[in-house]
């Protein structure tokens, strides 16, 4: 399913494969372990909505179908930034759908940036999250900043 492109060849406007996923209790519990958050009760047992809700990180991670398109990078890819608009909570067990596209790409100081925008919807078609993600493809030998 994954398509691989060089930075030069990846066309602005290309869309990711559509994602449809049921955010099951098992999936949410997996991420609840990962998040280890004080909001854990809302994700495991119950929220003010009366039922457990999906952590926003799960909506982002699953909804960003950008993994279906990979930019080849000798130094690997790193996440450079993320912006999210939160529109609606999602109950555990909801089926979400998501689609995204490459909206911009540019080179800056020898690194290659791609901007992706995704919209995540619930099974009623309502927008639950809008995501803009900045990915950076590194050249060979580029170090990351560890302070």
């Amino acid at each position: 399913m994954r398509q691989e492109y060089t930075f030069e060849d990846c066309p602005v406007g290309i869309e990711t494969e559509p994602i449809e996923e049921v955010l099951s209790r098992e999936t949410v519990l997996w991420y609840a372990h990962a998040l280890d958050t004080p909001n854990d009760d809302w994700y495991r047992y119950g929220s003010p909505l009366g039922e457990p809700i999906v952590p926003p990180a799960v909506l982002r991670t699953v909804g960003m179908g950008m993994r279906t398109i990979r930019i080849s990078a000798p130094g690997g890819n790193v996440n450079a930034g993320t912006a999210v608009e939160y529109k609606k909570p999602v109950k555990v067990g909801t089926k979400i759908s998501a689609r995204g596209k490459l909206t911009e790409k540019y080179e800056k100081r020898g690194k290659y940036y791609t901007v992706w925008e995704f919209t995540v919807r619930d099974e009623g078609g309502d927008e639950v999250m809008v995501i803009r993600h900045l990915q950076c493809a590194l050249p060979a030998g580029q170090k990351v900043q560890y302070r």
């Binding site: 494969e17 004080p38 990180a57 790193v78 450079a80 560890y146 302070r147």
Partner: protein, 147 residues
């Protein structure tokens, strides 16, 4: 436990949200960046966030915490303070400016920098950040909530 009792209208410029800290272990990183359910979308659960070998091959000092995992720490701080209001009126926009390794701790913070009345709604603008145990910033950005 989620507090989520903030009354946005009562919060003034200069207010700092309660900060939260997360020790990052390789186990947590492997959970966050290694969910096998993403494999069908082209994701490789063996990657620079979960594997010592892959990280070394890419020139990283060790497996690095994924940017979205750091973002999740900011999200959870904001959910913890604003509660369900965050899911319908929140926005978060960040850049990753450093890396975390297993064994590091991230401490998140937010400070209100502007308060705007928009009709019958109030919008708070915040500066947000995450720093490691050496007080070096690893993620910075802005957030807002409108109610």
């Amino acid at each position: 436990m989620t507090t989520g009792v903030a009354n946005i209208a009562d919060i003034e410029v200069g207010f700092e949200l309660p900060s939260l800290s997360w020790p990052m272990s390789l186990g947590h990183m492997r959970l966050f960046s290694g969910w096998p359910g993403l494999n069908k979308y082209g994701h490789d659960e063996v990657n620079q966030h979960t594997s010592v070998e892959v990280a070394k091959r890419l020139g990283r000092p060790a497996p690095i915490v994924a940017g979205p995992q750091m973002f999740a720490c900011l999200e959870e701080m904001l959910v913890n303070f604003f509660g369900m209001d965050w899911f319908t009126g929140g926005k978060l926009d960040t850049h990753y400016v450093g890396v975390l390794l297993a064994g590091d701790t991230i401490t998140t913070g937010a400070k209100v920098i502007e308060k705007v009345q928009e009709g019958d709604k109030t919008r708070l603008e915040m500066e947000v950040w995450g720093e490691n145990q050496r007080q070096a910033k690893v993620v910075v950005g802005f957030a807002s909530i409108t109610k």
